[in-house]
Symmetry: C2
Subunit: 206 residues, 2 copies
DNA sequence: GGGTCATCCTACGCGCGGGTAACCAGGTCA
DNA sequence: TGACCTGGTTACCCGCGCGTAGGATGACCC
């Protein structure tokens, strides 16, 4: 069913770093399936084929474990976005690539995007901080391009950037959930067209 | 500080319906401030100036209380969106009004939008259901207009609708959090311009 | 005044789950 | 061969917070 590719014959000894990676992988499965609160440390340990204290030898607590995972994927998303914008200097293709980054992120690595886009635990400061960092930095990069291309003020460009990120994020999640009704390429191109028509040569007033 | 306008001199007896409304109001405060999980039934009761069993005479459990509140605000959001689209037949103004609906919703009634847009508890089926209903119905209404106006297929129009809703939602939340840097009217007009440029006369292919 | 009904209180049961104490096993090196 | 280090285990503690049992209090009617 939903078994990790990692072997787990409850009894194999692993070197520290290998075990750590495996624990992170198990934790990701459980957190993604159940969310933070419904996830039990017992289950994470069990899923890794190991007992609970082992978990606590690698991570001081549940929240820290979660944050480690969250950091990983926030960095991933930001990197994808940055790379997309750096992949070309043609702004139309930049839009296409950036939107594609969101669709790729959402369809990648075992639904890990849920940690970033659907986290319960937003009320805890360190988590909120990381999630907002994702939005802020992605939008910041985009708003840079917008400001160069149009005459918008910084505040306006930021708001537009945030709007575009929101569009990409929400549509990507929706596309994933309605699996199959539209192929990925078609979906990204559709959204890219919407975004590009909206943003290209954006008028200062109008 | 953050006290309800309702009086709460711990000892006043209230008729059933009045008490119920007051409990809902107290619960909203606490759920919005802390999220579902960090919210304690004890605190909700205390905030209402009443003891816990009273709460349980009105609602069978914590989750049902939360759902009652959630329903209220999901309905509110959907109604705002529907009214916005029905307020005119000019599609450009429709876009403006619909975006405005999101900004109004977000800035209204004590940050209650957090229940709909930032709920921890999405993993619980009845909650997820209601949150998705909001997205689905809002996007559905918009996609109707899109299909009439452009030659898009139903699937494409739905994806576009979801994207626009996401754009509105996320930008509205961002605008609220960066309080003051842009006036509300300017922000909605900015986003409406982005959306309208993107969607108006959307080409079947391109 | 006394029944009775609705409203509200104090005080407790209890399960769940994060975190820990104390102990075992096997490889390596002097 | 025995000290020792690394990696692992079982079994437990304990606090928090939802939900409830059982009792008080006051309004209203006869």
């Amino acid at each position: 069913m939903t078994t990790t590719p990692d072997a787990k014959p409850r009894g194999t000894r692993l070197p520290r770093m290998a075990r750590r990676r495996q624990l992170l992988s198990a934790a990701q499965e459980v957190f993604v399936e159940n969310g933070y609160h419904a996830a039990a440390m017992d289950e994470i340990a069990e899923r890794a084929g190991v007992s609970k204290p082992v978990l606590y030898q690698h991570f001081p607590g549940k929240q820290e474990l979660y944050l480690a995972l969250l950091d990983l994927h926030v960095d991933d998303m930001i990197t994808r976005c940055r790379d997309a914008l750096a992949s070309t200097t043609d702004n139309k293709q930049r839009v296409q690539a950036a939107i594609g980054a969101f669709f790729d992120f959402v369809s990648g690595q075992g639904e890990a995007f849920r940690l970033v886009f659907e986290s319960d635990l937003r009320n805890v400061a360190p988590v909120r901080q990381r999630i907002e960092r994702n939005l802020r930095e992605s939008a910041e990069m985009i708003s840079q391009v917008i400001q160069e291309d149009t005459g918008c003020s910084s505040d306006e460009a930021h708001l537009l950037g945030v709007g575009l990120v929101g569009m990409a994020e929400v549509s990507a999640r929706y596309w994933l959930s309605s699996n199959g009704s539209i192929p990925k390429d078609a979906a990204t191109q559709l959204m890219a067209r919407l975004a590009w028509r909206g943003i290209s040569g954006f008028p200062r007033t109008g």
